[in-house]
Symmetry: C2
Subunit: 144 residues, 2 copies
């Protein structure tokens, strides 16, 4: 059975908060993990619906919020205003194709250090940042 660690983590979180294990929550977790990141609520809803026909949008949103609190998912918003969910892993930023929507992750310690330096320079205590590069991916750049 796949995603054993995540299922257990969710169960532990539910128990700790006196919440209940339900078919809907299991289904959302499974679909989310199978998607392997950057999935929108809409797509999540569509896919969960395939195996659990009566689930509502509300439950998908609420469950994803729950998974975020449990540390099993992370919310991401790009410029299209649609929330996407990622599986948590090392810090990174994103390259986004404005044509086809392809999302690529990148990490640059030089930029991270520059951010710290800039925040210090202006006396800010840095809490988080948002860094997205928008452009045309290799495929879209060369006309289809």
């Amino acid at each position: 059975m796949a995603h054993e660690a995540e299922r257990k983590a969710l169960l532990a979180f539910l128990e700790k908060h006196n919440l209940k294990q339900t078919r809907q929550r299991e289904a959302v977790l499974d679909v989310f993990l199978e998607a392997e990141g950057h999935i929108t609520s809409e797509e999540l809803y569509r896919r969960v619906r395939e195996r659990h026909k009566t689930i509502g949008y509300t439950t998908v949103y609420r469950t994803m919020k729950l998974l975020c609190e449990a540390g099993l998912a992370v919310e991401r918003c790009f410029d299209d205003g649609i929330t996407r969910y990622e599986i948590p892993h090392e810090h990174h930023d994103h390259l986004v194709c404005t044509q086809c929507g392809t999302i690529v992750e990148f990490e640059c310690s030089m930029i991270e250090e520059a951010q710290e330096r800039i925040a210090r320079e202006y006396g800010f205590r840095l809490l988080r940042h948002r860094h997205e590069l928008y452009g045309l991916c290799p495929r879209c750049r060369d006309g289809t």
Copy 2:
């Protein structure tokens, strides 16, 4: 009379597109320029209303869109989901205080170069980026 250059630029734009000069458009332009950047639609509306009591939200939005097209304003969206308008000037990014909303501009050529390099590395044609640092400004960081 202040903002002479901008008034002329707007007039030229209106003429070129067969649009009309109206009291509302003048009022929005004036208030926007007096604000000196990072003003929200709501605040703009509030201030325009002080001198032109019957203006509608719609007209403020439509006029700001017009000013953007005319190159007299630039839209900016931070994480609060509210659009702000800036007076166009050299490229820069932002530091935003998550507590009091203070906005500080910064520029870092090292980061700009790193962005170009990263885009190249992944084969992207870079079109634009979004880079915001969120944290506590000096005042908020030190309690009060």
